[in-house]
Amino acid sequence: MSDDPVLFIDVRIAIEAFELAVKHELPLTGVTALFGHSGSGKTTLLRAFAGLERGAQGRIAFNGEVWQDTSPSRVFLPPEQRAVGYVFQDARLFPHLTVEGNLAFAEQRASGRGEAIERKAVLARFGLEPLLARHPSTLSGGERQRVAIARALLTRPRLLLMDEPLSALDARRRAEILPYIARLPADFGVPVVYVTHAVDEVAYLADSMIVLSEGRKVADGPVAETLARLDLGPATGRFEAGVVLEASVASHDHVYQLTELVLGQAALFVPLIDAPAGTVVRLRVRARDVALAIRRPEEITSRNILEGKILEIVEESQTAFAETLVDVEGGRIRARITRQAVAELNLTAGVNVFAVIKSISLAGGVSTVVAAADGDV
């Protein structure tokens, strides 16, 4: 146990046939993702943090301050006394108030226990000045969520809880708002717990993650490590499973509109990004976008081929596929390949392979992506 502030949780919640039981020490820094499929209990757990689940049994303590403890005494701080911000999936702006009224509602009741967050800074950050006089019913989904996040910040929370705030938005709006969320801890000094079932959001936002499945914690740890684990199976997503890598910008090629990145000693190419050389960017590589070769492939369109060694292979006896983890310089890459290929190429732990990466997406660290990363490089 470290001395860093933590949210200690040891809760059990029974809702009809479903039972959630999670014990964890959640770091109160950066962004922590609560990740799981629908029905895994992640939203219920988040609601318990806020005090919205009255039936929750057990103990929750914020940096030593007891929020609830059901035995032996009965302590239960109601939501309004916990000084947390909560952003709901459906925004929940008050329909009888304007945007300004919604923000004022939060400001007037601000706990004063969190960071001194200035209205001006929040309005500027979320571009809300032009919306102040509008009613929530006239806002787009993205605008509503920006107002909801701003409103939660203006309560000066000690912890910001976000429940899939982007799930109702299309890909473009999500991409617009994600950078705002990623910078919340740095800009406003508030730690964030972010509930999501989208691996790309975890890759983009989170520093650490907790994986929930059927009401239980199945894994937790830094995002890069956790996403590289093969033993979690479907809990970290089959189709969307993949790893996070950190590379730095080396140079730009304006003729071909490519940016060269360096990962360890190897070069990677992505569509041109607007970031100076040396900038560290986060990349996401999905397992299904990686093929493995015994010899370095030549005369191939993929520009991104990394040499490495197989660390682990997990075959899925019920499907055609096997998950492999490859150690490359500067990180680990997952590849989802067929079991037949594993057998025919005699792939096993320790074999040297070349990972052919068909698609890389930027997962964060850059402010603007000049070229939309459509198409494979």
């Binding site: 806020a50 005090g51 919205l52 109601p78 939501p79 309004e80 000084a83 947390v84 911000g85 909560y86 709901f88 459906d90 929940r92 008050f94 329909p95 009888h96 509602f105 939060a106 009741r109 601000a110 706990s111 009613h135 929530p136 019913s137 409103r151 939660a152 309560t155």
Partner: protein, 223 residues
């Protein structure tokens, strides 16, 4: 020129009944809207009883209860020195029971439409439950409050059977419009009956029209 006494008395009765029912009906409607108690259907049924019972039945039981021989009646006599039966206070009590569903049901519907979600949001923004009621739930249910008040007021004005049983026909104390009309007809004074009846008819239509027009109007960012 119609006698003004019954008109003023009726307006006073309806106003007092509506105000008192707002105070009593709001928490009851709130409880019914948000409770998960298994007693909810029982309370709902009791609340709705005045809708289906003949007013004479309600009036009869109240008369029995108000009697100085009954515990409520004797308690009232001990405390105030007067009887509840055949008094204005007795009429108010009877009207409140008689009009209860007209206050509670629109409010309950309005609170149910508000739902738990905005209240949870208010709590996470630092609002206590009382604060959340006044600053979120009540404004969002404004139209429910208007509908409930108007219907209660109008329904109280139109009551007859309960008044006749509990209040009788005492000028200045219990003689409301509907009773006055009845008396005019009994005494073949059709002219006066026409004036009061037409007045009630126009009033009732205006009230209902206002309620329906209000409900038809676009939600103007509310509810």
């Amino acid at each position: 020129m119609p006698e003004l006494g019954p008109v003023l008395l009726t307006l006073a009765l309806a106003t007092i009944t509506t105000l008192l029912l707002l105070i009593i009906g709001t928490p009851l409607a709130w409880w019914l809207a948000y409770t998960r108690s298994r007693f909810k259907p029982v309370i709902e049924a009791v609340t709705a009883l005045p809708l289906v019972l003949p007013p004479t039945v309600l009036g009869f039981y109240l008369l029995v209860l108000f009697s100085p021989n009954a515990s409520l009646g004797s308690f009232w006599v001990t405390v105030t020195g007067t009887t509840l039966a055949f008094s204005f206070t007795g009429l108010v009590v009877a009207s409140m029971l008689y009009s209860l569903p007209f206050m509670v049901q629109p409010l309950q519907t309005a609170f149910e439409a508000v739902g738990r979600e905005p209240l949870e949001a208010a709590a996470t923004l630092g609002a206590s439950p009382r604060d959340a009621f006044y600053s979120v739930a009540a404004p969002m249910a404004t139209r429910g409050f208007i509908t409930a008040s108007v219907l209660t007021f109008a329904h109280t004005i139109g009551e007859f059977g309960v008044v006749l049983m509990v209040g009788g026909n005492i000028p200045g104390r219990t003689k409301v419009i509907s009773i006055a009309i009845y008396e005019h007809v009994e005494t073949l004074n059709y002219g006066e009956a026409h004036v009061l009846s037409a007045g009630l008819l126009v009033f009732s239509f205006a009230v209902l029209f206002a309620v329906y027009a209000l409900n038809r109007r676009a939600p103007l960012h509310v509810g």
